[in-house]
Every structure is written in structure tokens, then in C-alpha cells.
Subunit: 464 residues, 4 copies
Amino acid sequence: MLDRFKEACGIVGILGSPEAPNLAYLGLYALQHRGQESAGIVSSDGETLHLEKAMGLVAEVFTEARLRRLKGSLAIGHVRYSTTGSSQLKNAQPILATCRHGMVALAHNGNLVNADIVRKDLETHGSIFSSSTDTEVIVHLIARSKSDDLVEATAEALGKLSGAYSLVIMNERELLGIRDPHGFRPLSLGRLGGAWVLASESCAFDLIDAEFVRDLEPGEFVHITPQGVKSYRPLPPARPSQCIFEYIYFARPDSVLFGQSVAGMRKALGRQLAEEAPAEADLVIPVPDSGVPAAVGYAERSGIPFDHGLIRNHYVGRTFIEPKQNIRHFGVKIKLNPVRDILEGKRVVVVDDSIVRGTTSRKIVSMVRSAGAREVHMRISSPPTVSPCYYGIDTPTRKELIASSHSVDEICTYIRADSLGYISMEGLLKAAGKDTGFCHACFSMQYPVPFPTEDVAQLRLFGV
Amino acid sequence: MLDRFKEACGIVGILGSPEAPNLAYLGLYALQHRGQESAGIVSSDGETLHLEKAMGLVAEVFTEARLRRLKGSLAIGHVRYSTTGSSQLKNAQPILATCRHGMVALAHNGNLVNADIVRKDLETHGSIFSSSTDTEVIVHLIARSKSDDLVEATAEALGKLSGAYSLVIMNERELLGIRDPHGFRPLSLGRLGGAWVLASESCAFDLIDAEFVRDLEPGEFVHITPQGVKSYRPLPPARPSQCIFEYIYFARPDSVLFGQSVAGMRKALGRQLAEEAPAEADLVIPVPDSGVPAAVGYAERSGIPFDHGLIRNHYVGRTFIEPKQNIRHFGVKIKLNPVRDILEGKRVVVVDDSIVRGTTSRKIVSMVRSAGAREVHMRISSPPTVSPCYYGIDTPTRKELIASSHSVDEICTYIRADSLGYISMEGLLKAAGKDTGFCHACFSMQYPVPFPTEDVAQLRLFGV
Amino acid sequence: MLDRFKEACGIVGILGSPEAPNLAYLGLYALQHRGQESAGIVSSDGETLHLEKAMGLVAEVFTEARLRRLKGSLAIGHVRYSTTGSSQLKNAQPILATCRHGMVALAHNGNLVNADIVRKDLETHGSIFSSSTDTEVIVHLIARSKSDDLVEATAEALGKLSGAYSLVIMNERELLGIRDPHGFRPLSLGRLGGAWVLASESCAFDLIDAEFVRDLEPGEFVHITPQGVKSYRPLPPARPSQCIFEYIYFARPDSVLFGQSVAGMRKALGRQLAEEAPAEADLVIPVPDSGVPAAVGYAERSGIPFDHGLIRNHYVGRTFIEPKQNIRHFGVKIKLNPVRDILEGKRVVVVDDSIVRGTTSRKIVSMVRSAGAREVHMRISSPPTVSPCYYGIDTPTRKELIASSHSVDEICTYIRADSLGYISMEGLLKAAGKDTGFCHACFSMQYPVPFPTEDVAQLRLFGV
Amino acid sequence: MLDRFKEACGIVGILGSPEAPNLAYLGLYALQHRGQESAGIVSSDGETLHLEKAMGLVAEVFTEARLRRLKGSLAIGHVRYSTTGSSQLKNAQPILATCRHGMVALAHNGNLVNADIVRKDLETHGSIFSSSTDTEVIVHLIARSKSDDLVEATAEALGKLSGAYSLVIMNERELLGIRDPHGFRPLSLGRLGGAWVLASESCAFDLIDAEFVRDLEPGEFVHITPQGVKSYRPLPPARPSQCIFEYIYFARPDSVLFGQSVAGMRKALGRQLAEEAPAEADLVIPVPDSGVPAAVGYAERSGIPFDHGLIRNHYVGRTFIEPKQNIRHFGVKIKLNPVRDILEGKRVVVVDDSIVRGTTSRKIVSMVRSAGAREVHMRISSPPTVSPCYYGIDTPTRKELIASSHSVDEICTYIRADSLGYISMEGLLKAAGKDTGFCHACFSMQYPVPFPTEDVAQLRLFGV
């Protein structure tokens, strides 16, 4: 509802627990922020694979009856977000198919840049497609491999694809976790007693009492069987390009990601922002919930008191019926309400993680002002977002991004703030603690993997 | 609920009407007796294909919202019955896939005898399967054809398959209706103003005011485009083997099938039965609804008065909660109730179309007797069913068929009737008006198309 | 969907079986033809009453979960039909209320003629109403009785009401079955082992293996407790006025009602009709299903052969989406299809139970003719319906009844039949075997209980 | 899911807007925190009242179709929480009834202490009850009033009742807002253009852009018609006893309640708590979301840094399937996860609003410690809760309240904290800014309105 980049998927995998499907379900629940449109789990009882997927939130999709139908000690799961156009069950994951290797299931977080070309080629050779996702291409390529070894067949398939992919793949007996050579999207390994767990973020381990072992490295294949875990690197290496926006917004603050605490990183961004873009003010407030750690960091470094001046309504349904009578800031107000007692008469710093189209920021500034704030200084804990993502994030097109065509001053005027400050690219990388190893193409337009023209690439993201 | 052979599918197709999806929906409604498990329609707006399918009856699946989403003047539809094991949405039809020929959709009535072998071969060559139906094999073979011509590509595909198939196939612009060379299952062509219609039975034409043109002939491909209808016979000819059980039970009595009226045929069966298996009796009653025409014919020829001595409850839901307290004949009684006033003191001929396991007949005889009948003479308007069908009908295995291992006398004893008479094979064919051109393997074990061992063949019918 | 009078309710009650709620559910299923809009059951576990009711058919409303929530060995149930306006859950029955006598539940078949006046009076004395049904008045009057005896309190209440009512009433321990002094609507007593059963029609006993004991007499109160059954007649006697339309159309043919078999009665009507309104014809066909027994009787007496020339589709959903393109006779065709093979070239007698507005008959005549019939002779097994019912049946207003303002010849012209014949009032009563004891106000306008003006009375039937 | 007192209801009313039902719906959405079990709205089109209510959240219950059925410019609404036992639709509100005054609808926040006695009396005089709520008594008493004036009739009714009630009442033309003479529960008046609005909390005004006018005073009747607003005080005055727990936990922090900002009050509690119960610590964290403002206040006064060390998962479904394998702190963990990076090595003050049974606090302390905290000091922004509420809040019985039978030291030991501090009663009242006018019976056992024995009173709260 609010104007943000949208994470497109979260994935989990588990082998070795008699409750694998139940634990996958809880893992997906912990990853729900990564995708709210559909949820699915495939499990294996050693002989056959069972699939349950549907449109909806994890807690809605997985009724007791559905979980009971999922049997076995091996399971993978997926939550998905998508733009409206392709919000259809046929595009939900995991994908389950029967092929020469038996039954294979796969869940994907990311986006393949050359999926269309490969798909056309596969069609020319007689393949049929039943979804409009890029992910189905991977299953076809695995099925076409002559190798009976799951790692080899998968490596052969992925050797033909480029782009962003963190994957969990399973057959009747084996679980495979993979990060692409650039490592765009996260994937971590955990341990729960005798079982091994894979998850997009470590917060999924916390919920099921699993122990975080380590991140998979870019390009790593982790092959898990009842005999143990083996690691492979069958693909040519590439420059690490981990998504820095995971730190800024997508990941949950209680996750440890790419080797660092997300909450810690966000507070560091807030401190850096306070140094780069100070403000004469009486109060620092976050745009909840994502702006909270950066606001705490900003307050800490600037010495300006922190408080919660915007209250979030957590009972948000999927759609709201708007009255015909115009309600000011309706779209934002359904989620946020300012607290006059806290804001009245104050010069307020509002800390948010990003500005996308600018429309939401404009409403927030206006709301804060109408609650009595004397001045409103907007501070953003990321650089201006000037370019779309082609690696697994749902972003508007370039021309919808206000920063792609407007200066900071112009944006400040548009959102009607008294001042506006972004963190610099240097500040971002400094806070991130290292200046290489990240993908920051949405700020810098430095795309680690080439892609076709914008329209095609955007379209490809979510199919027809 | 009652113990009968089950028709597995009904199909429709229409090209040339701005209301094609709505008319397909009504056509499916008229064919609902051919499949009650799932229903689906694919339509084309000329550019893309739209699919709506779900588990349930036609009137439940096709809400106004769902029908609104189906656009275009070209559509195909499918109703499906299936055994419980594979009652899953993934096996519902039509199948819609994208391939080198663009988008293709297909609906199938029948059963492919060599689907497993072909499927294994396709998997070896890299194909992936997303359902457990034999039908998916057809789509794969079409996709692998190098020919860009839909008729040619389909003929090439079907050249590799054997068994029973009536098909409607469509892409963005064309509609194809096909009967296999043996013509096991029916398919008819109709006309509605400027539009052409295909349907499993002519009763679908009646409902939408379409005019019955003719049956497709065995082996015929009817290719329908806005330019008109063309007929092809690209496959090697075979001996016609039209399913005689369609006449006996499956088809609606108001349909014209294989060139004859179903109601007329059933009455002829009843007259023939009266000659072959007369009875000293006061009353002829049918087992409703399928036994009605044969009972009318039996009464007409025998001169014994006809009446409805068993009343059917038409508000039958899908499941019934049976009390723990034993209710006599519960499974049958939930559907049928005898009328004491009609039956009391009478010698009654009960006419039914077939005896499968014998359990239902036994309950019916007992119910009729408990309502006061002095004698109960069971007469069956088909020969004893001794062998399963492998051509698209859901039948029990051979050993479940009471007539496969018991004589007529033994069956009579089991069902506790005073006498039992079946029509003879000769009588059946005589009533059908010609002694060739039919498949009667379930009575004669003369299978027109060879098939693997029974277990495999049965399994193949409805997948894993 | 078809143009008929509509039965408004069916009721059941059972005391003394550990499966009382399950048996009530099956009883309602057998009475489903008396009301398809909502279904409900109240049970008593001896301490408290449990209510489950919802809009929908019995088999839809009573899921296993719902039936499990109903505990106890005492239960009553209700199915309801209603016009659209008041199709609301708040008007579904049974009604359950707490009052000075504890918890009381009640289910009603009929219509109270003075409910509005009594309701106004109750309101003046402080009562509040939560439904718009006439039935709620009964509960209020019982609650206001000073007597702690259920029979006395109920008799006191009903003494203030006039009109039609068959009732089942229960509290935590007792079951009461009541027919009003005129006996408009049916109610029968049955026995199932140690349990006693009440039901609108005997077909409900058949399904649950209960034995039919006898009809309740007009004005009879049957008080059932674990100690046994007692009979009372606390109200002033009145002339018996049992609804003759139950014989003609409402009741199931397999029921025994008012002391006679419904099927037997309908056949007698057909025979009488054949004598009063003979036809030169080749074939007698019924309008299914209600016209079947009368058609059999007509054929028997006239010597003209009987057959099923109209086939009914039994998979009828609640609503059908009609194409914009006009389909001839759509409303009728969705239910009925003529069989050309049976009708072609014939002079056909079509037997139906009644003509209400005439629109359906007109479509049926046209359909039969379009299937090749040379002549169509409509024969009706009841006299012309000239006036509405105020005693529990949903009928159109007087001016909608074609026979209220048109002669038989005019109706014949309107429906385009070659001839039209109704049974006479004398013939009807002769077939019914006695000339007194029936209400035939819809034919004769002789209303046994006076009622306010038509508009008010109609309105009252189903509330606002 | 967490162990808290539960607010039982929220109410709204609006007169004078063509979109009254839509605005009531949005108002209920803003009050969703006051009740999540059922939601309902009654509207008036000037002639009749329309009711829509169902189990579920506001955004689930009020589909577009449901809102469309609500017509008129006058509406009231209700959200309800309840214990499981009486979670039934029949107990959902508003209550709508027809009586001598026409149609009347009513929504109630609170609890009537003498409802059972009055109900018994009403039953003795012939009233029937269709719910098990105390609220239905009010409607009966209004219906029994001879006065045709809504204010008079209602005053007469409420004169017979004691306990807690904030009410919105409507008929076809008038809206009435009422607070009981003690003013236990809140109710505010707002203005939106030409329309008047009533709501439990001012945050409902914010969402619909209405202007907060003032709180209703204890004992005040506000009578709203198209002609304007009139105020009455028809009941004997009483000592104001506004629920102080609304400040501590129930109300939304962005509301202004009883004349003060809730967020401001909570921060004042935190500051007072810091003075009364200081701690040697490195970090102050709240238990989200209710503990946040007090934690900010505590940090501010103590000078110890504030941060969010517990992250809340907002995608909480209603039920969670717990694995058989034991997961530590499962019930809490499904909602909260600690952030190791923030907590590790720190001495942490955890600020919460109350301790009920102690089980949740024990889990939180353990979670914080397992995330690396060296010390955990629990601070509670209310005095020990020693006694249940009988005025509209769902609380455990006395013996379930850990503080009713354990000293602070014993509780500290039970929850395994390094120290535990509560705010004092004096500190609470000091922070509240005045020492009179509040009900604090749950802390002090000083009950402003006498009530029967505990068991009865608890039972009465939510009926059988």
C-alpha cells in the first residue's frame, strides 16, 4: 500500500526432521515480509513429492488439513510477492515437475535476465510451459540434462542462465541450496539437531530454534542428503554483488545477513546520515516500521531526542473501500496516524529508508505538519533511487522514480519538506563496512549483469 | 454414489460467437452428466488464451466473475470425472501451455493406451510433466512437431499415440475437433448462426439453440477457422469401435449419438429384453433415471403396466454423514425410496441398465420387497459386464465385476431376486441396428486396441 | 425456476435417540423439496440447547463439524423456502430463545393470519422482535404464559393465533408436535426403536428406517418425553381443512399423507382427468417430475401409450448466467429438453399438475412442438388456480394467476396448445376419496380462516 | 496470543453524512485494537434499518457487497472481543430489534453488573432473549418504556441498570451517545463537515478527517438529530471512575482520551517509573508495541539509550500450528524475536505495561538473555494487577493473576529477571495528573460499583 520497492520472494528448505513440512511452514511465516501473495510447500516422503500451494498469506494457506497432507522429512517452501498482472496460482511456487530424473521441485528468489531467450530456444526444441515465470526455465534445463546427478544436472542448467537466483531444489531424497555467482540474493544455512535448514534470512532459524551456521557464498551449491552436507562451486566465479537494499529495507532487522546484523547496519546508516545531513531539530521520528533503526541511529549521533510520532495500524486488510468523500492522505492514513502530543510545536526530523515516487513522502510530511510540527526535515537512509532493479525486486519503471529525473532540491519542493537529505553512496558503503561486494545499481546504475532494454526486462520479471 | 460405470469426460468447442465462453459454459452444463469433478474453459481473444478451471460442478465453478474474465469468440471446455486418488486441480482440463506454436489448449475425452511409454520417452528427451494425466502427452507431442500447421502438428502427435480420444484443441485463432480412428468416444458438429460448435453429445446443442449438423466420423479432423470448416483424415483408418455403453447408460436420452436417438435405442433394448427375458408379472418399474426408457420399452412389448415404483431424491449433495446406528440400504436409500402404494402385493419387474458389483442391485431388490412386492424380477438392458474398459470409462477392476466370476444364476442368488435376465450380446447388437462398428469389450472382452496388463492399464487411466 | 407454487417449510423432531441431531439432518434431507433456502437444527443435551442454522441446502449447511457441535438425544429441524426479499439468516428457523421457561426452540410450517395484529400488541407491551417472521410471535406468547407446563403455555399462546401451523417445539427435555385445528399442513408421528419421530411427511421416516405410526389429527398436541407420548386437544375444534395441493404437487410421491399414498392419489387424479378431458392422441408425456404419476394414470385410463418425452437436467445450480444472445425458452430449457425421437410426428398429451402464470406452459408447448409433435394437448391434474394461498404456501398475487382472469379457452390460446383440459373440482374431490376435510381455497376461494386484505396477507407471509 | 488484559469493544456512530456506513466502517477499522472477534454496522435510510455483522476483522467482514447493502446517512458500528466460549455470531453487535418504538439498534462497550438479575426479572414478565449478552437487557428495557421519546425511554431503561456502559443507540432518525455516570469507558464526540460522529477513541476521527470536539462527560446523553446536538444528564450523578488501564494499555497512543494524549501519558509513566525503579543498565528496550512510549520515557528520564531489541512479526494469523518438537518460547516467539546485535553483552531494561500471569514475561526475559544480554531488568509501567475487572475488560480470574498471590520479589524470581520494578499507585496517579476520577480497581481492589461474587461476575461478562 505504501510506496516502496517490494521484495519478491522468500525460500526455505529442510532435510532430516520428521517435522520438515511444519518447520518449513514456520520458516515461511518468519519470511512473510519477503512475499505476501502466495505460499507453497513441497515435501518428500522418500517415494513421492507432495505439493500444497495457494494464493494468500502463510497462515491462511496452511490450514491443519493442508499441513497434514504434506508428509516426509524433506521439504522446501516459498512465499511470493508479485504485481497484480501475474497474480495467478499458476505462477505460485514451488514448481513441481516429473521428468527423466523423477520428481523435482524448485523454489526461486531472484530474476533471470536471459530467461526469455532461453525459453524461446527451449520452445523451439519442443518444450511446453505452463506458467509465465522465469523460474520454469530452470526446471526445463535440469530435465534436459543427461546427467543423473542432481548437482551436475543443475550446474549444467544454471550454466546457461544469467541473473539473480537463490534456489532451493529437491527430489525424493536430496536438497540443494544455491546462490548465483554474484550472490545477489541471500541464502543461509542452519542446523536444527540432526536436520539441516536453508533460509533466505536467519530470522527463520530463530523461530524454529535452529542454529545459524553461515551464509552460502556467492556461487556456492550446498548439497544436503541424510549423509551430510557437501559444498560445490561448479560455475565460473563472478564479482560478488550482494543486494545492498536488503540492508536498507527488505530484510528483517533481527536477521544476520551477508555476515552482519541488519539492525546494526541500519543504525550505522542512521548515524552516518546524521553526520552527512544534520538538522536543527527538536525530535527524530521514524516512518514505521522500516525507518526505526536508522532513526534511532540518527538520534544517537545527533543527540536529538527520538520518539514514535507516527503510529502504525497493524490490522491492515488487503483492500480498503475508500469513501467517495475525499479523505486527505487516505492511502497513507489507513496505515499511519501522527501523534499531536509528540509533534506539536516541534522541529521534526522524519527518517525513512527511501523515496520511490515521492507521493507517500509528500503525504507523510503533510500529516506531520498538520499534527502541529513547526518544521519537517526528511532524512533518507539510502541514496536517491534512480534506476530499476532487474535482479528480483519489484520496482517501478525508471520514469516513475522521482529521483531519476529530479534533483534533491526539486524532490524537497515536491514533498513540501523544510529540508531533505539523503545518505551519500560513499556514506552508504562506509556504513556497510566495505566498499566492494555489493550491488547498488538502483542508486548507481552500475548493473553487474547486463540486461535487455528496460521494457523487456521489466516485463520479464513477472511474465505476462 | 450408486454402483455404476462412470463416464470420465465431456468436451465442447465453439468458434465464431461473441459469446463463445458463455455458450461453452452452457454446453458444459448440458454435459454435466459426463463429469462432475472439475470444470474448465479456455477462451481466446485473438491474442492470448484465458483459462478458468476449478474443482466442482459447472454451476459452482463458473461464477459471473469467472465468466467475465473469459474473453473472445473462440473457446473450449471440459468436465471431468475421476477416481478419488487423482482428484486434484492439477489434473483438471483444459490443459493450457505455451510452446513454439504459441499458446495451445486442449480438452480430451478418452484414454491413451500407450501414454506411459510415450511419456517415459519424452522424459528421456528432457520433457517435464506437471500433471499425472495421459492428456499432457498430447500437448508435448504437438509442441515437438516442427510443423507450424496445427492440423499437421496434431496429426504428427496423434500418429504416435493409440487408444481412445475425442479432442477439442485450440490456439489463438483456430479450433480443431478430432475423433480417434476407432471412434471410441462421440463428438458432434453443430451450427449456431455464423458460429460452429463441437460437443460430446447433441443435447449440448439443444440447450444453446444450435443446430445438430452431424457426428464427426472416426478418424476425422475438423478444422474450424473464421473462414469455415475443413475436414481431414490424416491418420491410418481403423475398424470403427464406437462405445456401445454410451447407448446403454452414459449418454443423455435426449441426445442423438452415432446417428441414432439414445432414448429410442434404450426403448429398443427394453423391447428386446422383454422378448429374451419375459416375466410373469403385474408391474414394470425402472431404476431411475437411467433405466426409464428400457423399462418403458419392456412394458410396451410385454404388455405389463409401467409405473414409477422408486422415487429419486434429487437434492443429493456430494457426501452424506451416515449415523452410527445402522440404516438399512443407506447408500441406496439416500437416493431412492420405494412407493408402497404402487408396489404392495405386486409381482414386479425391475429394469436396470447394468449390474456392476451387485451390491446396489441387492439393496434395490430388498427395498422393493420390503415395500410389499410379492416377487422381484430383475431385468438388465445390457449383457453381463465381465471386463474393464481401457478406453476412457472409469470401471472397477475385473475381479470387482460380479459377472466376471459368477453365472447369471449365482448373481440372481446374490441379489436375492426371484429371477434375473440380461439382454444377450446378439440382442444388444440387433437393437443397435447393426452388428459391427461398436466396441463391446466390457461384455465380450474383444478389445479393439491392445493394452498392457490390467493393473498398468487401470493405473494409467487416472495417473498416480 | 419453473413457475410453480412453492412449499414454504418442512419440519422434523426426534426424542430418545443418541443420534437425534444426525437423524434430524437426514429427515430434513428427505424433506428438502419443502424448502431449499435455509436449514437449521436445534438439539438438547439435557442442559442446554445448541443451534446450527445457515442459508443453503441441507447437505451444504450440515458439514461434519456442524453436526458434531449438535449434541444430545432430542432435536428439531427446519428447512425453509422464501421469496428473495426476506431471504436472510435472521429469518431462518428453528428459532431459539431464552425465557422464563428456560430455553425454548420452535420450528413452524404454515402461516399465521393474525400475526401482525398480535405482534403490534406484543410490542405495545414491551416485546422486541429480532426477525420479520410470523413465527417469532409464537415464542413471545409462550414466554408470556405464566404456566410452567410446556403444553399449557403453548396452548395458551396458540389460543391467541389463527391460521395455519404445524409445529415442533422443544425445551431441554420435552418435544411437542402440533397441528392447528384446521390441520392445514401435515405432520406425522413415527417410531424408531425407542425413539419418537415427528416429520412433515412420511418419506422422512423411510430414510431413517423409522416406522410410520400415524398422522397427527387437526388440533392435536403430541407431547413426547422420555416417559412416552401423550395426546392433547386443548384448542377449540374446527372444520378439517387439509391442504389438497399437498396431494397435487408439494408432497413427495413416496409419502403417505392425510391417510393416503401421494403417488396413488396422483394416479387417481390422472385417471379422473382422462375421463373428464379425453384427447385423441398417440402419446402421453408428463412434465417431470411432478406430472409423472398423473400422466401414468392418464395413460392407464385412456389407453394411450406413456413415455418420457421431456428429459430433466438434474445438475441444476441456483443461478444461471444467460447469454445476451437470446436463447428460446431459456428458463425452461435449462431444466427440460424434449426428445425428438419420442415426440416426432405424434399427437401428444402433456400432463402437468398446475398452471400458474402460464409462461412456463407456453414454453413447454412450444418446445414439444419444435421437437416434431403434430398436436399438443395440455392436461392439468388440478382445477384452475384462481386465488392465492394465505396458509403457508408461496403463491403469486391474484392478478398474476392467469386463471384468475382468463377462461380455459383463453389460457389455451395463450399457451398455444391444441387443447387444454383441467380436472374439475368435483373430480378432484372424488379422486381424493372424500368431499370434505380439505382446503381448496386456491381453486374455490372458499377460505376456511378469514384474513385481512390480500396485500397485507401476502406481505405478512414472508415479512418485510 | 500474548498474555494481556483484553479490551472488549469499540463503538462508533455517525449522523448526517451520505456516506455514514462507509465512515462507520473506517471508524471501526481505526478501533480494531479494541475488538477483533466480530464487527457489525447498522444503518438507517430513514425508513428502515439495515444490519450487517459477522465474525472476523473489519476488513474481512465488510466486503464491498456488504457495504453496498448498508444505505443511509445514519449508522452505528461495533467491534467485539470475547472469550472463546461465547464467540458466536448471535452475540455480535450491534443488536437490532423491532419494538413499539419501531426499529432500534444499539452498540455497547462495557459490562452491566446487574444484568443477570434484570434479565431474570424480564423473563418472568415474558421477555425472550436471543443472545447471551448483557447488552440485550438494555434493548428490552427501552422497548418496555411507555415513553415515545428515545432519550426518555433510554434514560428510564438505564436507570434500572448499573455497571459500565458507553453506548451508541439509533432508530430510523436519531442517534444517541451515552456514557454511564461513572464514565468507566470512553466516548468522544467529533464533527465532520455537517455530520456528527461518536467514537470510543479520537483516532477514529483522525482516520476519517473528522475534528475532535470533546469527550462525553460521565453520565452525559448526547442526542443527535439532523436538527443538531443536545446534551442531557437524566441519571443520578456518581463519582467519575474512568478506566486508568485505557491509558496504560488499551487505547491507541495516537488517541486523546479523558482529556489527555495517550502517548504523552505513557511517556510520563515511563519517566515516573525511571524515578521510582531506576536500574544500572546500558539499554532500554520496550516490549512492542504497547511498551514503546513508556520505554521512551524511561530512557529519557534515566539517560540510558533506547533501542528496539525485540522485533515484532506483524503477519500474525489467528492460529498457529505448533510442531510436536518443542520450540522454546513458541507462543511468544511467533510474535517477537530478539536482536542479538543490539542486546549482546548489554545490561538491559525491558519495559512492559503489565504482568498478568507472568508466563509471557518469563519467556521474554529468557529470550532477551539468550540473545546475549548480561542482565535483564524488567520494569512495568503499571502497579501489580491484583484483581479482575468487572467493567468491560476481559481479565483472568483473581487466582490466575500472579500479583494477587505473589510479592514483587517472588514474581521477579518466577520470571527470572535480575530485577523487577513496578510503578507505584501514587506514581501512576501522579503521572495521570490528578488523583481522583479514575477506576483503578484492578490494582487497588477499590471497586466503584459493587458486584456479586467473583464467579458470577466473571460469568456475566460474556454470558454462557
